[in-house]
Structure formats: structure tokens, C-alpha cells
């Protein structure tokens, strides 16, 4: 069964969010929401969790809230990219 047909794992969702934040740089929640394909409620929950883990940081400018990857977040994404390549080699997906 293809990955798109299955329910995404929590790890996959977190990776999609982190990739969206990295691609955007000063990423707005609406952009992350669109790229990670999540509801607003779920996105807030995931963003809070990733912030708590120190993988992303929040920048508050008046009413605007943007997100950036932390150094830990960048390292985590590189590690996950390696892990994904390894897993894909055996015909699997994260």
C-alpha cells in the first residue's frame, strides 16, 4: 500500500512540519498548515510539541507569529533524512 493511502505516522507529520518550516524560513502558521496538510487545531498541538522539544522556535512580532528551525531541529532533520534513505533502501517508508 502506498504511503499516501495510509494514515500518516506522528513522525511523518512532524517531519512534514519541520520541512515546511525549513523551506519557508520565518514560516507563518497558515503556510505550514497548507504544506503539512493539517487542521489548525492539530497544527497548533504539533507546533507546541516541536517547540517544547527545542526543534523549532517561535518569533512573535505584534500579532504575527512565525517559526524557524533551531540548530537542534536542523540536526534532527539531517539525521531523519539519513534514516529515511536507509529505510527506503529496504522498500519501507517512515
Amino acid at each position: 500500500m502506498a504511503q499516501s493511502e495510509k494514515q500518516r505516522s506522528v513522525l511523518r507529520i512532524n517531519l512534514d512540519i519541520l520541512n515546511a518550516v525549513r523551506d519557508e524560513g520565518d514560516a507563518k502558521p497558515t503556510h505550514i498548515l497548507y504544506k503539512a496538510n493539517l487542521s489548525h487545531e492539530r497544527l497548533v498541538r504539533y507546533l507546541d510539541d516541536l517547540t517544547e522539544k527545542g526543534l523549532i522556535e517561535v518569533k512573535q512580532d505584534g500579532e504575527n507569529r512565525t517559526y524557524n528551525l533551531t540548530t537542534k531541529g536542523v540536526s534532527f532533520l539531517i539525521e531523519m533524512r539519513r534514516a529515511e534513505s536507509f529505510v527506503q533502501g529496504f522498500g519501507l517508508a517512515i
Partner: protein, 213 residues
């Protein structure tokens, strides 16, 4: 030490290093993604690495390859028996991992059945059985690998399939060498097996040097 034994020792020890390296990377990846198949790959390659190291040590100390030592001392027989058993269990673990990914269940009865069938026979018969079982398991792994790859093939999956394919061919040759007691055929099989592990090493290195998208 005869040149055949020296070649066999060198190739086995290199294969053992690659198998243990693959096991370590799979273990590291499994800590991140917690996947049943990756766990099986880690355990399977660890067993395979240990088995190959045992076989290499036996060849080093006896100065003979496995095929040449069928009528040899008890220690060599025991070491060869250990290697063949560990190898069979290793491929079984990987095959079970792939089966669980493909069918969502674990064929739990398979391991004891294979070991029970292998018990209490001479080394020659046991090695025949072991190579045959390893051959069946490898064919199963390659088949399951192909099924999983057909869904999402990429530049890494071809290298892993090639590796398992070469190890499968190697076991055909190794089985033939045990049947005919041919030392040259045995070395050819060991050489092909080494090429399989070399492909695996290329895959591990390539997946490790990959950067961010």
C-alpha cells in the same frame, strides 16, 4: 595456511564487518523511527556478522575452508555448525521482518521448525540443509523486497536488492559446492557473497552521506 583458506578468511571477515556495520546503522535508524522490519534487519545482520566472524576464525585457526573441513576435528565441526545455524537464523529473522511488513503478521512457528529439522544430523547434511534453507529464505527476502520496492522504488532500493540478489546467487553456488565438495566452487560462492556485501556497504555509505533535501 592454504591460499584458498586465506581468501575465504579475508572475504568472510570483510563480509562480517559490513554485516555488523549494517546492523549498527539499522539499530541507530530503529531508535529514530521504531520500525519492526528495521529491528529485524538490525538483529539479522548482527547474527550474520557474528556467524561470518565465527566462520572466518574457524578458517584462520584450522587453515581449511568449510567444505574442506567436513571430516575434520570436533572443534572445527562445532564452529562450522555454529556458523551455519547462526546464518540460517539470521536470514530467518530478516525474512520474518519482511513478512510482517508485507502481511502484517509474524510466522512464529517457522524458527523452531527450521532448527528442529536441522538438529541431530551430521555437519555435511546439516550444511546442505542450512544452505538450502538460507537459499529459500533469501529467495523469500528478495521476493518480498521486490514487492515492497514496486510501491516506492528509489536509487537506494536497487542497491539493496542487488545485494540480496548477489547473496542469493552466492548461496546457490555454495549449495552446489557442498553437494560436489568443490573447494573452487566454494571460493566462487564466497566471492559472490562478498560482492553482495560490497553492494550493501555502498548502500550504507550512500544513505549516510545524504544531506538535507
Amino acid at each position: 595456511m592454504a591460499s584458498g583458506a586465506l581468501i575465504s578468511f579475508t572475504l568472510d571477515i570483510l563480509c562480517a564487518v559490513v554485516a555488523l556495520l549494517t546492523s549498527y546503522y539499522a539499530y541507530r535508524v530503529n531508535r529514530l523511527v521504531t520500525n519492526q522490519v528495521v529491528g529485524a534487519i538490525s538483529l539479522g545482520f548482527m547474527l550474520l556478522g557474528i556467524g561470518l566472524a565465527v566462520d572466518a576464525s574457524t578458517t584462520l585457526f584450522s587453515g581449511k575452508t568449510l567444505v574442506e573441513s567436513f571430516s575434520d576435528r570436533i572443534l572445527v565441526l562445532f564452529a562450522s555448525f555454529t556458523y551455519l545455524t547462526v546464518q540460517m537464523v539470521a536470514y530467518l529473522v530478516i525474512a520474518i521482518g519482511y513478512a510482517s511488513a508485507a502481511y502484517g503478521s509474524r510466522p512464529k512457528a517457522a524458527a523452531p521448525a527450521v532448527l528442529a529439522g536441522a538438529a541431530a544430523v551430521g555437519l555435511y547434511r546439516f550444511s546442505l540443509l542450512s544452505y538450502f534453507v538460507a537459499l529459500i529464505l533469501l529467495a523469500f527476502i528478495v521476493f518480498q523486497g521486490l514487492l515492497l520496492h514496486s510501491g516506492q522504488s528509489n536509487r537506494f532500493s536497487a542497491t539493496v536488492l542487488l545485494a540480496f540478489g548477489l547473496i542469493l546467487v552466492a548461496h546457490v553456488v555454495l549449495l552446489a559446492s557442498v553437494l560436489t565438495l568443490g573447494p573452487l566452487l566454494f571460493l566462487t560462492g564466497t566471492g559472490i557473497q562478498f560482492l553482495g556485501f560490497l553492494s550493501l556497504l555502498i548502500f550504507v555509505v550512500r544513505s549516510e552521506v545524504v544531506g538535507p533535501k
